[in-house]
């Protein structure tokens, strides 16, 4: 570890100018914070978090729709734990559960399918996540079809990372000199899915795993590429990442989903960045159920959008630690333990000295 830190410092000195590197994976955000890595980097190398936390980029309207569905009689909502405390225009899922709605946390979409089969209730699974998670939801849908389970539906919310990175790289407000690319998303997509970064935008990328050494190796690679004026996509997670990824998973996703324009918190609509259920699966699509929605309310003063684009660091948001804390989150970036603001609050907020 010390060797890596030293080599990064050397490479940064040779580079001779500041560099901003971005990671776009919530698990990377968490890993960097948990290991205290930011403090180990030399002056001039800035590591920022992008929109890597699917909870954080889920728009308020999605939660509002989920809550409206939960209010329908005979409905049970199943969700990954991460969504429970996210504020909607009104209350969070956790608060709604305390008030009597049937909302259950599952670890796997299969658990949700099992609940549908056991209870016979109308089950809606909150389908959020990136390319790592989407195939698991497609697989659960395939199993629902194969077992003829009519009462299993999803509220589609899955998103695609490459279009978001493309949007970031085209953002004039943002200057990123290299990307730490998401290790597990790449297991599914293959690392070639990110070649456009180097080929079309001249920005280097390194696919890295989640151990502190993995991340630091990625930082070193990116600083060195910058120093050498190169831009390539390098796979530093070859233990599990291949050039083209998991084709079985891709086919299953293709069977059920099609890319669609989608709204990302902080970005607005990014073209073809979300996944909608194909029309032949309308019976699995809970977003087609008509419900009454409140007007979407983004909390006043919240600068989650800019944080998610890496434009500002969390402390620049006026609400950070002034009303917005992990126990009283205002914006989504503070709720998830992988949200940029939450990670910063827990791990980089050192106070005086």
């Amino acid at each position: 570890m010390a060797v890596l830190v030293h080599r990064i410092a050397d490479a940064a000195a040779r580079l001779g100018r500041p560099a901003t590197l971005m990671e776009v994976c919530g698990t990377h955000t968490h890993a960097v914070a948990a290991a205290g890595l930011r403090r180990m980097l030399p002056e001039g190398i800035r590591l920022v978090s992008g929109p890597g936390c699917p909870v954080c980029v889920t728009p308020v309207g999605y939660l509002d729709r989920a809550l409206a569905l939960a209010a329908r009689p005979g409905t049970v909502l199943c969700t990954f734990g991460d969504l429970m405390r996210v504020p909607s225009s009104t209350v969070s899922l956790e608060q709604a559960r305390a008030a009597g709605r049937d909302i259950r946390i599952v670890y796997s979409p299969r658990d949700a399918l099992a609940i549908a089969q056991e209870t016979g209730l109308q089950l809606v699974f909150l389908a959020v996540g990136f390319e790592t998670t989407t195939p698991t939801i497609a697989a659960a849908l395939a199993e629902a079809e194969a077992t003829a389970t009519p009462n299993f539906q999803i509220l589609p919310g899955n998103k695609l990372i490459p279009p978001a990175i493309a949007a970031l790289v085209s953002d004039p407000d943002l200057e990123v000199h290299g990307f730490l690319l998401p290790g597990h998303v790449s297991v599914l997509t293959g690392w070639r899915a990110f070649e456009f970064l180097a080929d079309e935008h001249g920005v280097p990328g390194a696919v890295v795993g989640f151990a502190p050494t993995d991340i630091l190796r990625g930082v070193l690679e990116l600083v060195e590429q910058n120093g050498g004026g190169r831009s390539e996509i390098v796979n530093l997670y070859s233990t599990v990442v291949s050039p083209s990824g998991n084709r079985t998973a891709a086919a299953l996703v293709e069977r059920f989903f099609a890319p669609a324009d989608d709204s990302w918190r902080g970005f607005g609509v990014i073209p073809r960045s979300g996944l909608a259920l194909r029309p032949e699966w309308a019976h699995r699509d809970a977003s087609r159920i008509p419900v009454e929605l409140p007007p979407p309310q983004e909390p006043a003063g919240c600068r989650c959008g800019e944080v998610l684009r890496g434009v500002i660091d969390p402390p620049a948001c006026p609400l950070f630690d002034e009303g917005c804390t992990p126990s009283t989150p205002v914006g989504a970036c503070m709720v998830s333990s992988e949200g940029t603001c939450s990670a910063w609050f827990r791990n980089d907020r050192w106070g005086a000295t």
């Binding site: 030293h6 990954f80 297991v187 599990v240």
Partner: protein, 75 residues
Amino acid sequence: MCLAIPMRLIERGENEGVVELDGVRRTVSLMLLPDAAVGQHLLIHAGYAIGAVDEVEAETTLALLRELADAMVDP
């Protein structure tokens, strides 16, 4: 949203298998990795195997990390 960990496949059926890490076992779906072989290390995410560990690459990476650990820092 990428919490996935490597676990070893110790038993498998048609669509499901049992994976193990340090004595902890879990039943997972093999729908996304139908060719998984018993004895392989698989990446598990949300109750599904999403990828397999390339043992050769894993060895190479381990060797590299060992080299880093042993390296002397230049004065």
